[in-house]
């Protein structure tokens, strides 16, 4: 599993590839979390997320928006994610630590996840997600 940051002039455009849809969602969450808070380690903070949506694109936008909310509102640096997807429902466990301005220095706030440029595709044995985050 891996993610890359693609060219986008104003914002951050991510591409994520993983063998399963749930794995790709987990990697997308890791991509935005690492952008906001680098050098994170899983140290005791755990949050569980359950969501439903009308389609898979909306499920991805809602899931990543929920990570942004928890990170910002509760001051958490997240680093690992376990995701389960059944139809258009998602359950996830997110692990991390309390955000520390010194330890997690150098990150950028993400303001939101856009539907412009959001896509979910199957390519051979992989799921490929692309999305733009407003920074």
């Amino acid at each position: 599993m891996t993610y890359e940051v693609l060219e986008h002039t104003a914002d951050l455009r991510f591409r994520v590839r993983a063998p399963s849809l749930a794995g790709a969602f987990a990697e997308a969450a890791r991509a935005i979390s690492e952008t906001m808070a680098p050098n994170c380690r899983p140290a005791g903070v755990v949050r569980r997320i359950e969501l439903g949506a009308d389609d898979t694109e909306e499920l991805l936008a809602d899931f990543l928006s929920e990570i942004l909310f928890l990170a910002d509102a509760e001051g958490i640096a997240f680093c690992t994610f376990e995701v389960g997807i059944a139809g258009n429902r998602l359950t996830a466990t997110a692990r991390g630590e309390e955000f520390d301005r010194e330890r997690h220095r150098g990150g950028a706030e993400i303001k939101g996840i856009s539907y412009s440029g959001l896509s979910i595709k199957e390519e051979g044995e992989s799921y490929v997600l692309e999305f733009i985050a407003d920074v």
């Binding site: 104003a10 950028a108 856009s114 539907y115």
Partner: protein, 477 residues
């Protein structure tokens, strides 16, 4: 330039109906030869997409700082008839009422002998960067009052002087704000962040008025050559981001309910007069007012630092003006000779009402509305005024900034924060930021030249140059 785009005049271009299926009106944008090279095809496509939205009036417009965003292009302006048109968070963005204000001071550059200390003290006083906590402790009731009264709330709670209120667009509080349309999640993010700068391109800058192009207007606005000014650029923080996220979700459903077909889901919208449209407007206005209070609190923190260091009073540091550049507003404009009620979206664009506008304080009746265009760390910012031409061509709108040309990823690959800091120091500009990466991402070279962008709006006539401001010290988030 994309295939099918037509040149209308030296600086004006048209995206004709048919460029993308479903366009209701042509797109129109302003650009010089010098700025053409940096225009992405994605930005023109986004402008064409806006032209497909129901109830759009005259043209989908973009200012010379047009670039590829999400939903609307950045630099985008569109007006919708309030009885037949729509309202969309895609035309405002996540950072509702991201905006800029300019403070005048009685100081000259020679008075800033201890400039590094000034930058350090401002950096200590104004919370910046990811995870910064606010100086305020707000109750639920106070947060709700802040979302209704904006700048006035902050002034009444000791964060400013009465005159500040008159010097804000909308007098620092949009009417129609509805805190009940701001979710508990958004409020939770808003409590600890009022009075914080944020990160990304947000900044606080100490500047010098380097050139004055229009002496008369500059005198009315209260600036003169050689004077030290302070520019503050920030928005509605996590509260505004959450309001956008929540309502975008609700409007996605509404788009289907009202049978609206769109080329991009980020343009999710509802009729202005529908319950969903009104709900978004109420929440957006509340977030906009929170942003005005936010900039007002930062203004107060800034004045306190300057007062302590230089022994000057808050009254001697008047607000020149405060503009927002991500917002949707109900405005009356003349369309085909008739006064028409419109919902004007400006996303990365600034209101630029002309002389005599009833929405301006009496002292600006002759000059038109002050317009503040921030540069980047090493490039100048500009003070301009709104014009009659803007009222005729762009629903009283102009550009909002320089506009990026290089992605953040490229910037970090190609430039080291430390080198940029050193180069700026050689030019006499002191930069203080939480990390080297945040300096590299916002380096001067990643933006279009601010001079060229304002030259184009001045030449087209949609605003008029008044003064040029150059950076002396910057704090970044």
């Amino acid at each position: 330039m994309g295939d099918g785009v037509k040149r209308v005049s030296d600086l004006e271009w048209e995206v004709p109906v048919g460029f993308t299926p479903g366009m209701r009106v042509p797109g129109r944008f302003f650009l010089s030869e010098g700025l053409r090279r940096s225009l992405e095809p994605g930005a023109i496509q986004q402008l064409a997409n806006v032209a497909t939205m129901p109830g759009i009036v005259k043209n989908a417009l973009a200012m010379p700082d047009i670039h590829w965003g999400y939903g609307f292009p950045i630099g985008g302006v569109a007006a919708f008839d309030i009885s037949t048109g729509v309202i969309s968070p895609g035309g405002v963005g996540f950072d509702i009422n991201c905006g800029v204000r300019l403070l005048a001071t009685p100081l000259a550059v020679k008075d800033l002998a201890n400039r590094r200390e000034l930058v350090e003290r401002l950096y200590d006083a104004v919370p910046t960067g990811v995870g910064a906590k606010a100086p305020l402790r707000l109750s639920n009731r106070e947060l709700e009052e802040m979302m209704v009264s904006g700048s006035r709330w902050a002034v009444e709670h000791g964060y400013g002087v009465a005159r500040d209120i008159d010097r804000c667009e909308e007098r620092g509080a949009m009417k129609g704000a509805d805190p009940s349309q701001v979710s508990q999640k958004a409020k939770q993010r808003g409590f600890p962040q009022s009075g914080t700068l944020g990160s990304g391109n947000h900044f606080l800058e100490i500047q010098e008025v380097k050139e004055v192009y229009d002496q008369k207007a500059a005198a009315i606005l209260g600036v003169e050559r050689g004077q030290v000014t302070v520019m503050i650029h920030c928005g509605s923080r996590g509260l505004g981001h959450q309001v956008c996220t929540d309502h975008l979700r609700a409007l996605e459903t509404a788009t289907k309910k009202y049978g609206i077909t769109l080329p991009d889901r980020q343009l999710a919208c509802a009729p202005v007069a529908s319950p969903e449209g009104k709900a978004y407007f109420g929440g957006m206005a509340a977030a906009a007012n929170y942003a005005w209070a936010n900039r007002q609190v930062i203004t107060d923190l800034t004045r306190k630092v300057l007062s302590k260091l230089y022994g000057i009073s808050a009254e001697s540091m008047p607000l020149v003006y405060d503009v927002c550049h991500n917002v949707a507003k109900m405005e009356v404009h003349t369309v085909d000779g008739k006064e028409t009620q419109l919902c004007v979206h400006r996303k990365g664009a600034t209101r630029a009402f002309g002389p005599g506008s009833p929405d301006l304080p009496a002292e600006f009746a002759e000059t038109g509305q002050p317009v503040i265009i921030p540069g980047s760390m090493g490039t100048p910012s500009f003070l301009l005024c709104g014009t009659k031409v803007a009222m005729e061509k762009t629903f009283g709108s102009t550009c909002h900034g320089a506009g990026r040309v290089t992605s953040r990823t490229q910037a970090k690959k190609g430039m080291r924060g430390k080198d940029i800091r050193d180069q700026l120091a050689e030019q006499g500009i002191i930069v203080k930021a939480p990390s080297e990466a945040s300096i590299a991402e916002e380096a001067p070279a990643v933006y279009k030249p601010s001079e060229e962008v304002v030259r184009v709006v001045d030449a087209v006539g949609i605003s008029r140059l008044v003064a040029k401001l150059v950076p002396l010290g910057v704090i970044k988030g």
